[in-house]
Every structure is written in structure tokens, then in C-alpha cells.
Symmetry: C2
Subunit: 303 residues, 2 copies
């Protein structure tokens, strides 16, 4: 089938609507979807400072490119924030730094090593009974928020796509961890705590296939490799399961996201009483007496 | 490991709590769980007439046995209702009828052939674009409700277990069919329509493994075979996926059910405005102008 719009040679078939698009129409479709998500959920307002969480991977590179493109039009200020977790043969911020330099984008890099005194590789070797992704997720979120807060950013944006989100939704459901899902959605809700920079996800309605195709066709200098720890994660398991349903029933990821968005206001209402406390060690916001970051850091000190 | 309670030879390991029980302690555990579910969710009240939906399979046979055992104590009246869908080499109500006769239980049998003029096998051959389970589910629910209503039963009870329920929860979620989930739970809610006999599920907190073990050890004369159409169903697919997560993460089914029950009041509140209409053809309750039963029956007439 030729491109649905202009009859040119197609580059992608969209799984949900089953239409095919050529390169130029796909770019238009992709960028329009991002703009629509931003305006529908009021993700970004004029003159805001937006910190873009950059891993150097395909999704965040596309996000940085697109937001930088929008910057002039919407009078927003874009700054890149990156975390070096210390994962050998994987994390590589070289291209990201080069890209930011060439495009005059300010970049702020924090590292696990500098902030906590250990790399993720070192932490994983020392703590055996926690999944690497759990350690990394907690520490990375802390540093991203810290950087965004210090840079006085109004929003912190991540490149999470529909696949990431549908996995998170399902992970929380099958783990009986519903309260965690109140933090999901195109923009974080509930927590009206000034110490948290609101997180937004402009790629919320784009699938992994679409974000990967976009980055590939835009020829961003990124590596399409997976984190070495992802194979042993619960997320990887749930991803494979959702992909297997999607294969037989195209549109499943969209349906999961739609179900979730229908439910989200009720869910946030259900847990609206949950309080944000202050960690007795580091004075950062926490759900318990000691925050997860300090729990991990202390565990490592005593390991 | 010996039985956790009495040190006898164990017959089962409970996946969620990781304890092992002997035959006699397992029977106690199983029956206590049923009684607790009934009292916690107020499933059955004194002097009620309970219609037990019986397929002749393991779950409904155990349910019929247990409710009949409870009948005297709770002053309830128990009547069996069975549906013969017309599935060759599968549906067999011989043992069920014999059991009811031996135990003085009234039994009421309806059949697709008598009520609609065709067996499920005939319907499946004629209508190609609907999943057999969808046809069967709609028609069976209609006949069960009709029988329970005609018998003036206060409740209609089914042998649905935790596996069935966690599958339904996930199926509705990944299909974007959340409103359907408002009908799930240990007892049907929302619809306060006299034409619907409330449905209850005393095995709600028991896994398939537990109900199968119970029926097997009680030596009920049932066949442990699967419906020939189940292999091609979406339910079968979701069942395999949940089982694969449960295998790596024991307790997943319990977590899904707990998440769901936490959510259910909010979900029912979300859809409380949904109206029950009256089918213009058969005057039975319906969500649309024409009920699903009539849609299927008409499709078959015109096929």
C-alpha cells in the first residue's frame, strides 16, 4: 500500500489505525501528535523553562530536537539534563554533548559516582537482592528532579512513550501497586509539593515503533542498543507479554493507555490523602520516614 | 515440607503464602475461605433461595456440594441450574443430574437448542466472524439469568475462581473495556434492575489450582477436560500470559485481584450513570437498543 496521504513509498504502518505513511507524512503525523498532546494536556505553557531528561538514546534525542524546534515559537527555554549512571559499554553521552554544543543547548550532567560515590555497576555488584532497574530508577529520578529544581525549570520532560507507559500501568496492576500509578499519565498529578518539578511526557501517545522510526529516519547519532540490565527486569518481562498480545490484537497498547486515562482521575481521587513526608536523612520528599534513595545509599555503605 | 498445621503429608503448596497443607487441613482451609468470602461480602443471607450455575465441571460441582452442605445451617434453599450449549464431546450433564438426584437437589436444565433453535456447534459453523466464547458467554448468561429469575432465586452463584476473575479484569483492561469490569467482583453491583438476579462468586479468593485440587481430592465425578473452543479464545491467551507472570512472581493473581477490588468502588462510581435499557425485540434488559442475545440470534437467522 502506498502512503495514505500522498501515495508515496511508505516507511511505516501505524498499528492502531492500520494506515501506511511515507517519510514526510510520518514526520508530520509524529510532530502533530506531539503538539496535540502538549496542548490537550497543557504540558507546556509560554515562557516556561523546560528541562529535557536526556539519556543520549533515541527517544530523548528526538524529544530534545522537537522541543528545541518548538522553543522559538512557544517562547520556551530548553535545557538538557543528563545522568551518567556508570554502566560500562552502554551509557555514552558523547553524541548528546556534541549535539547540544552544535545546537546551542545548555546541558547539565550529573553522575551517580559524583553524587552518591558509586557507579550503578559497582552498586549492582555489591547489592545482590535488589533488581538493578529498581536501584537505577530511584537514583536517576532523584538526580533528574534535583537538577531540574536547581536549574529552576518549570517542567521536567522525559521521552517516555506509549510502550513505556503501558508497561508501567500493567506492572503496577499485577504487582498490586496501584498507588504508584497515580504518578503516571501525560503529566504528574496529585503531589503539589514545590520540591517536585512536574514531569511531562510529550510522546505519551506514540508507540516505541513510532519513536524508533522517527529517530532512525532523522538520523540522530544514537545507538539502538538496550541496557545490559534490562533483560533481567520485570519491565522486560511485561514488555514481552504486552508485545505478544499486541501482535495478535493490534491496538492493545492504545487500549491499555485509554483504559488507564479513563481511570486516572478516579485513581488520583482514591489516593489523594497520601502525604508526602520529608526524609529524616536528606530532607528530600519521601513517602516514608527514610526516602528510597537513602535506603539504597545506606544499604550500599553497609554492604 | 510437611503440612504447616499438623505435620502430615502435604497435598498442595499454596502459591501466595508458600505454605503446604495436608488433605484434611486443605479442606478446612478451602471451606473456611468460602465461608469468609460469603460473610465478608454478604453474598448469601438467611432463608435465601440460591441458584447454582452448574456446568458439570469441577468448580461448579464443588460449589454445589459446599452450598448444599451450608444449606441446613444457613436455612438457604439450593437449586441447580444448568445450560446445555450443545458442544459435542464436551458438555455432559449426566453426572450432574445423577449427583442432584442422589442428593435431593432440584435441577433445572435449559438448552441453546430449545431456547434459540440451534446448538453452539451449529452457531459456530454458521457465524464465522465472532469468537465462539463470545456467542456462548452472551447466550449462557441470558439463560442462567432467565432460569434463576423464573425459579424466583434471590442470587445466582457461579463457580468463578481467582484465575477466571484475574483474566476477566485483564481482558477488559487491555481491550479498553473498563465499563464491563463494573460487573465483576464477588457480587455484581450497580445494576439495581429487578430483571437481573444478582450474581455471586464464593470461590473469588481461591485459585484454579486450589479449586481443581479440591474437586480432585473430593473425587467428584467430573471430567478435567477443556472446552474445545477455549484454545482459540482471547481468554486462553490472557490466561497463559498471567500464568507465565505468576510462575516467575508467585502471588501475581492475588495482586491483580487486590488491585481490582481496591479500584472497584471508584470504577462503579465512574459508570454509575450507565443506564439499563430494554431490548426492542425481546424486552429483556440491554445496554443498547437491541440486546446482544437478539443480535446473535438474528445474525444466525440471516446467515
Amino acid at each position: 500500500m502506498p502512503c495514505k496521504n500522498c501515495r508515496e513509498k511508505p516507511v511505516i504502518r501505524l498499528t492502531n489505525s492500520n494506515i501506511e505513511l511515507c517519510k514526510s507524512c510520518f514526520f508530520k503525523y509524529f510532530e502533530k501528535k506531539v503538539r496535540k498532546t502538549i496542548s490537550k494536556y497543557n504540558l507546556i505553557e509560554k515562557k516556561e523553562k523546560i528541562a529535557v531528561a536526556c539519556s543520549g538514546g533515541k527517544d530523548s534525542m528526538s524529544l530534545l530536537y522537537l522541543l528545541n524546534k518548538l522553543a522559538k515559537k512557544r517562547e520556551i527555554e530548553v535545557v538538557a539534563v543528563a545522568i551518567d549512571e556508570g554502566i560500562k559499554n552502554y551509557r555514552d553521552l558523547k553524541y548528546l554533548k556534541k549535539y547540544c554544543k552544535e545546537n546551542n543547548i545548555e546541558i547539565h550532567v550529573s553522575s551517580f559516582k559524583n553524587e552518591f560515590g558509586f557507579t550503578l555497576d559497582q552498586a549492582v555488584k555489591k547489592i545482590k537482592n535488589i533488581n538493578p532497574c529498581s536501584i537505577c530508577g530511584v537514583l536517576r529520578r532523584r538526580l533528574l528532579n534535583k537538577a531540574a529544581h536547581e536549574l529552576k525549570a518549570d517542567k521536567l520532560t522525559t521521552g517516555h512513550n506509549m510502550d513505556d507507559e503501558s508497561q508501567s500501568v500493567m506492572m503496577n496492576y499485577v504487582r498490586g501497586n496501584l498507588e504508584r500509578s497515580t504518578r503516571l499519565g501525560p503529566i504528574t498529578g496529585i503531589v503539589k509539593d514545590k520540591r517536585f518539578v512536574p514531569r511531562i511526557k510529550p510522546f505519551y501517545f506514540l508507540t516505541e515503533k513510532e519513536t524508533a522510526t522517527y529517530a532512525y529516519l532523522k538520523q540522530f547519532p544514537v545507538k539502538f542498543i538496550e541496557c545490559p540490565y534490562s533483560a533481567i527486569s520485570f519491565r522486560g518481562e511485561v514488555r514481552d507479554l504486552i508485545n505478544s498480545i499486541e501482535k495478535n490484537h493490534p491496538g492493545t497498547k492504545h487500549a491499555i493507555i485509554n483504559s488507564f486515562l479513563e481511570l486516572l482521575p478516579a485513581l488520583r481521587n482514591l489516593y489523594k490523602e497520601s502525604k508526602v513526608r520529608t526524609c529524616i536523612h536528606c530532607q528530600e520528599p519521601s513517602s516514608g520516614e527514610i526516602c528510597n534513595t537513602c535506603l539504597i545509599v545506606n544499604k550500599l555503605k553497609n554492604a
